[in-house]
Amino acid sequence: MSHNANHAVSHGHGHDHDHGHDGHHNMEALRQMGFWLFLITDCILFGTLFATYLVLHNNTAGGPTASELFEMPGVIAETFILLTSSFTSGLAVLCMHKGNKNGLIGWLIVTIILGASFVTLEISEFLTMIDEGAKISTSAFLSSFYTLVGTHGLHVSVGLVWMIALIVQIARRGITPVTTRKVNIISLYWHFLDVVWIFVFTIVYMMGVM
């Protein structure tokens, strides 16, 4: 009974919001905030992986150490590529708010190309490391390293697929309140991934080679 009452109340509330011109906008704003909350939980996920890495990074079990393994030129390139892609995803949002559909799609494509080069560089870096005998099973250091950096790389890869799907949707439907919210969300996601990478770069790579 009380469940029913709750349902009625929440329904009435939602109905209230849907009224008038602003209703739709409020709903999209609420959805955007929901995504923000997801990003916070994702932040905690990365926090646990960073904690694991920080605890285990000296346990190399006789295998290669961070300073022997990491090739900084590739990592520095990855950092600047991701940083630039974070900027271009922001430019896509700017174009969207000016109603420039082609600009929006163009900057999203630039972001995808940069993101794809980031993932390619990262995969080739992993493959080189594995060739050198630094597998995920070699030591606790490498297990936590591949889990942390790999989870970030997976996030970027998922973002790429998502962005391609979004471009198809924008091309078909144009800039609507729904696609606007989706572009805002994916640009937040992309900036978030850049922030996570800054800490990967700092804590894993820079402190590793120091």
């Binding site: 923000w36 909350l37 932040c43 905690i44 904690a51 920080l54 922001g90 949002v93 770069f201």
Partner: protein, 109 residues
């Protein structure tokens, strides 16, 4: 007309401008270059290097939040900011707590 002006002003406020994105990008580039120059050329070492690295990383986080993610322009009540602070507290407790506990583990074994 006046209404239109207000509307475009609102848009401008909540989504940033080209200027704010460019400033954010340039600041990020500088904040990435500083640790590279200082640490890879061994200008700073040990604890000082760690401090430089962490400070520039945190500053860059702040730059991204303000210039790219528009946290500053959020209207009251600032739920996004509050959720972020809660998340950061949890992350810091997990990270610092893990290092602290596991560090002691090694001492007592």
């Amino acid at each position: 007309m006046a209404q239109h002006q207000t509307h475009s002003h609102d848009e401008h406020e909540s989504h940033g401008s080209l200027k704010s994105y460019v400033i954010g990008f340039v600041l990020s580039l500088i904040l990435t270059a500083i640790p590279l120059i200082f640490v890879l050329n061994d200008i700073v070492e040990g604890t000082a290097a760690n401090v430089v690295l962490l400070v520039t990383a945190v500053l860059q986080f702040v730059v991204q939040l303000f210039f790219f993610m528009h946290l500053k322009e959020e209207k009251k009540p600032r739920w996004n900011l509050m959720a972020l602070i809660l998340g950061l507290v949890i992350v810091l407790v997990i990270v610092i707590g893990s290092i602290w506990i596991m560090g002691n583990n090694e001492v007592y074994q």
